[in-house]
């Protein structure tokens, strides 16, 4: 069961059982984005409030809440993400997202025979608790679970930037 224990690290199960920043925010001032994994029906809702949405990459996360339902990987990843980006600037979030995705795509990169050292700038940022999700790459079908919240947050930021 060693593979399984890599996937379901204790910290992941802890975030699953006691999700951080769970709930809703009033819209506006917050902006809401719904993300779906059409393969398994998982759903993540990101409510994001920036201190100054016009400040571009320098805008800072004033508050963030997570809604939705899904498996332990999608929900714990969302919980860890919410803790990691609270108080961070949009620019920092972008770097963190790149780092997280680089960690998640290692397996895909190997499958495609590409060089795994060509990670994008910012991919060496310390990921902290998020490192616990590294085991997911051994289970390719679950990578979409782990990245759902990050993709939803990225979409939220994009919608804010273009609105």
């Amino acid at each position: 069961m060693s593979g399984l224990e890599d996937l379901y690290r204790e910290i992941i199960l802890d975030h699953y059982r006691s999700p951080r920043n769970r709930g809703e925010l009033p819209v506006p001032p917050a902006h809401r984005t719904d993300g779906f994994n059409p393969l398994c029906g998982d759903e993540i809702v990101v409510y994001l409030e920036l201190d100054d949405p016009t400040a571009g990459d320098n805008a800072v996360v004033k508050d963030l809440r997570i809604g939705g339902q899904g498996c332990s990987i999608s929900q714990s990843s969302a919980s860890m993400m919410s803790a990691a980006v609270m108080g961070k600037s949009v620019g920092e979030i972008r770097d963190l997202t790149r780092s997280f995705k680089a960690m998640m795509s290692i397996h895909e990169g190997e499958l495609e025979g590409t060089d795994i050292d060509d990670a994008a700038p910012g991919s060496d940022l310390p990921l902290g608790d998020l490192e616990a999700l590294r085991g997911v790459v051994k289970f390719p079908v679950r990578i979409k679970c782990a990245t759902l919240s990050w993709n939803t947050l990225a979409q939220n930021l994009e919608e804010l930037a273009t609105s």
Partner: protein, 416 residues
């Protein structure tokens, strides 16, 4: 004879015919419980397809050499085998498609476009697979037809309380013959009669029905019946649409291309007669041969025995899992094995289906988590996803017991 709880089939002997069932998954004996998604294939099917390619492969129709004649013969004899298997009046009523999804699209696109206008009513049920939903949504967007839905009860059966009102004025009832989620088998004859009385034709999605129950299209009384080869021991890449001869004659072609025409000019074309009218392009000949071999395999077992075996196994699964897990197990479907097939959707111990199937996988048990392409039904059941175990002729009570032990291990793993 009784082997592992089955009086109807000798499962141990059957398993010897399926090479893949001797393999392992994550170092454990493979316990394949995902036949509702696709079935495994017996050696005879694989050999029949190899034999076709080794001895008879050529393109079918119109060629004057012996090999092409043999290929055409292989295709048409497979068509006749399918026709006999479902009690069709003629082999010409058997249309080979890519899969059941294409069959259902053919009904919606070819029959639907020719017969439905703005405001016409199409009746579906909330049990339907997306393959019997989306084509009608597409036609609704194009034609302004109206969809009405037969609701579902909490135990995953159709709720027929308002059936007459729902069917009133409808042009077609397009309905699953067995739910791929709850396993529920609707009272097909009653529904067909009610639809016909209302002036509607009936199209059945028999993907989960044809592989598992004796099926005679004349007895069912439907007008179209769709099913897939790969769920009934045959290869992927081929499906079947059966249609009443007069209805097929009156329905315009679906895809256009070679093989489906009588004549083509710069001004237009004249379609061929059925079944060629609906089979544009080179057909899946080897797959048709494989499907015929699969049907021969099922015929040798006898579809009555197949059904009896699955009913026994379903009763065993419902009983043993409920006894062991009590309130930890929620079954999304009818509890009477006579009203359902061997498809068991369930929720377990507050463990998400995706996580559950991951743990089962580590025990060699293959089940499917997700919405099973039936999102309208998921909303009725009030869940985003279920775990689904489904069985067939090669499963026995040992497989159910292994599933049961793996569920217990999953509960331990998540400490709930």
């Amino acid at each position: 004879m009784e082997v592992n709880g089955s009086v109807a089939l000798d499962v141990a002997a059957i398993r010897q015919d399926f090479p893949i069932l001797s393999t392992t998954m994550n170092g454990k004996r493979l316990v394949y419980l995902d036949t509702a998604a696709t079935s495994q294939k017996p050696r005879s099917v694989l050999q029949a397809m190899d034999h076709y390619y080794e001895t008879a492969n050529a393109n079918v129709h119109r060629a004057a050499y012996a090999l092409a004649e043999a290929a055409t013969q292989a295709l048409e004899s497979s068509r006749a085998t399918v026709a006999r298997f479902i009690g069709a009046a003629s082999a010409n009523e058997i249309i080979f498609t890519k899969n059941a999804t294409e069959s259902l699209n053919l009904v919606a696109q070819a029959w639907g476009r020719a017969n439905l206008a703005e405001g016409d009513v199409v009746v579906l049920s909330l049990l339907e697979h997306h393959a019997n939903v989306v084509p009608w949504h597409q036609l609704a967007a194009e034609r302004g037809i109206t969809l009405r839905w037969i609701p579902v009860t909490t135990d995953g059966h159709l709720d027929l309380t308002d059936l007459d009102a729902i069917l009133d004025g409808a042009k077609i009832l397009s309905l699953t013959a067995m739910s791929n989620v709850t396993g529920a088998i609707p009272p097909i004859k009653q529904l067909v009669d009610a639809a016909h009385a209302a002036g509607a034709i009936v199209s059945l999605d028999a993907c989960q029905y044809a592989p598992h129950l004796p099926m005679n299209v004349a007895d069912l009384g439907a007008d179209f019946v769709s099913f897939s080869s790969h769920k009934m021991l045959g290869p992927t890449g081929i499906g079947v649409l059966w249609g009443r001869a007069d209805l097929l004659d009156a329905t315009p072609p679906f895809l256009g291309g070679g093989g489906m025409i009588l004549d083509v000019t710069t001004e237009g074309f004249i379609p061929a007669a059925v079944p060629q009218k609906f089979e544009a392009g080179t057909p899946a000949v080897a797959e048709a041969v494989g499907l015929a071999a699969a049907i021969e395999y099922l015929n040798a077992l006898g579809m009555d025995a197949v059904r009896a075996h699955e009913e026994e196994l379903t009763a065993y699964a419902l009983g043993s899992l409920s006894d062991r897990f009590g309130a930890d197990l929620t079954i999304h479907g009818p509890l009477n094995p006579a009203e359902r097939g061997g498809v068991l959707s369930f929720a377990f111990a507050d463990i998400h289906p995706h996580d559950l199937s991951q743990i089962l996988d580590s025990h060699g048990v293959g089940v499917r988590p997700g919405h099973h392409c039936a999102k309208p039904l998921m909303r009725v059941l009030g869940v985003g996803a279920t775990a689904r175990a489904s069985w067939y002729i090669y499963n026995d009570t040992d497989d159910i017991d292994t599933l049961s032990d793996a569920l217990a291990a999953a509960k331990d793993f998540f400490s709930v």
